[in-house]
């Protein structure tokens, strides 16, 4: 989980390649000939346009996105604090190491089912997205703190730069690339895991419930349409989040 992936190194998606994959999907759908097995792209888009006109659609989107966001932001906040403490106090790093390893390696399904014993299904996605993002943020930020240029810290000590300024102008700028990578990885993870948790917990009015119902009633175009919705939300959310983060970095850096 300590991987640091810069935004620039991410895969570039070309329109032509998307078009080819949609054509292939359409071809498979036509070949199979049964919408219940493979819904065609056209019927999925038609169904999506029908869904977006429904009030319930937006309620489900808000329900899930809100809860996943709470989990995400809590994980970022607590992850950064824990990383700071772990960097300062070795004992905290050692104390957290087994916990982080367990959370990182345990399957999402196991954690979800276990959490269902303690947490209501309505708030399950909050806990699951929190647990998925926390180790990523913690590990990356801790790595960032440890990689902070010691020579700059020596400089800060000689000039007696106050702690707040030291954090803002030395630590933050050094940690930010690690933090951005953590957010990028965490964003993808929290939507995947959060919706998966909803499918298992089936909280009423969530995207997960709508996915589950689509599967129960063999409404494959609905299933595909909701999946497409999750992908689109995830992409838009990531773009907006990273844009805001870059703006924040710029504001911090510009004195």
């Amino acid at each position: 989980m300590s991987s640091t992936i810069s935004d620039n190194s991410r895969r570039k998606i070309r329109i032509w390649s998307v078009a080819i994959w949609i054509l292939l999907w359409h071809g498979v759908s036509v070949y199979v000939g049964k919408e219940v097995l493979v819904a065609s792209p056209i019927s999925v888009v038609v169904r999506l346009f029908t869904l977006v006109k429904e009030r319930e659609f937006w309620k489900s989107v808000v329900f899930s996105v809100w809860r996943i966001s709470i989990g995400l932001f809590s994980a970022i906040f607590i992850g950064v604090i824990l990383a700071g403490l772990a960097a300062r106090f070795k004992v905290i790093e050692e104390l957290l190491a087994p916990l982080i390893t367990i959370v990182t390696t345990t399957p999402v399904a196991s954690i979800t089912i276990l959490m269902l014993i303690w947490v209501s299904s309505r708030n399950l996605s909050v806990v699951i997205s929190f647990m998925m993002v926390l180790p990523v943020v913690y590990t990356n930020v801790l790595l960032g703190i440890k990689s902070t240029n010691q020579k700059l810290l020596e400089m800060a000590d000689v000039f007696e730069i106050p702690a707040f300024r030291k954090i803002r102008y030395i630590y933050v700028s050094q940690i930010m690339p690690f933090f951005q990578s953590a957010c990028l990885v965490g964003l993808g993870l929290c939507f995947k895991a959060g919706i998966a948790a909803e499918v298992i917990g089936i909280p009423k009015g969530s995207i997960g419930e709508r996915l589950y119902m689509a599967k129960i009633y063999l409404a494959t175009p609905d299933l595909f349409a909701w999946t497409l919705t999750i992908i689109l939300i995830s992409i838009i959310y990531e773009k907006v989040f990273m844009l805001l983060l870059r703006f924040l970095v710029f504001k911090i850096g510009s004195m």
């Binding site: 700059l152 400089m155 000689v158 000039f159 730069i161 102008y169 030395i170 850096g253 510009s254 004195m255």
Partner: protein, 191 residues
Amino acid sequence: MDINLINICKSYDENVVIDNLSCMIPHGAVTCIMGASGSGKTTLIHILAGIEKADSGNISGIDGLKKSIVFQDDRLCEGLSAVGNIRLVADKSFKTSDIYDELSALGFQKESARQLVSNMSGGERRRVALLRALMANYDILFLDEPFKGLDSETKELVMLYTKERVKGKTVLLVTHDEMEWETMGENLIVM
């Protein structure tokens, strides 16, 4: 108050860098330290700045002094502009316009003063590092080869500027250059 160093020793593993050094750094004057490479000049500055500890010996008169320094490597915050780097440590009495004025005196255009130091040339970075140290609130200033990497014309300008700014201050200047010692120095320690 003068700073007195008595029997300072420092070694890294088996390598003795400073061996029983005793000297005095007078208050309110520029003291040059000269010596061959590896003679422990930078180590001495680091010990006085509190970055490193001497293995043995005694230093008096330095406790409680506010320190400022130009490192051999610039040690600038790459994500900040020249102004940002200087403002990070500058005495609160300086306004941003003062920083621009001082940068201008060192040959900076306003636009280049605004750009990130990571985009600057070695000479520009050196001048930013020097000005940062000069604009800090300090009682003693350590200059470790501060004019290294400057072309001769700029070097002369920067040296005269520095000499003017450090008048009456306690300064320790590490140099290999006799011209720097002749221009700036009032006392000399040879290592």
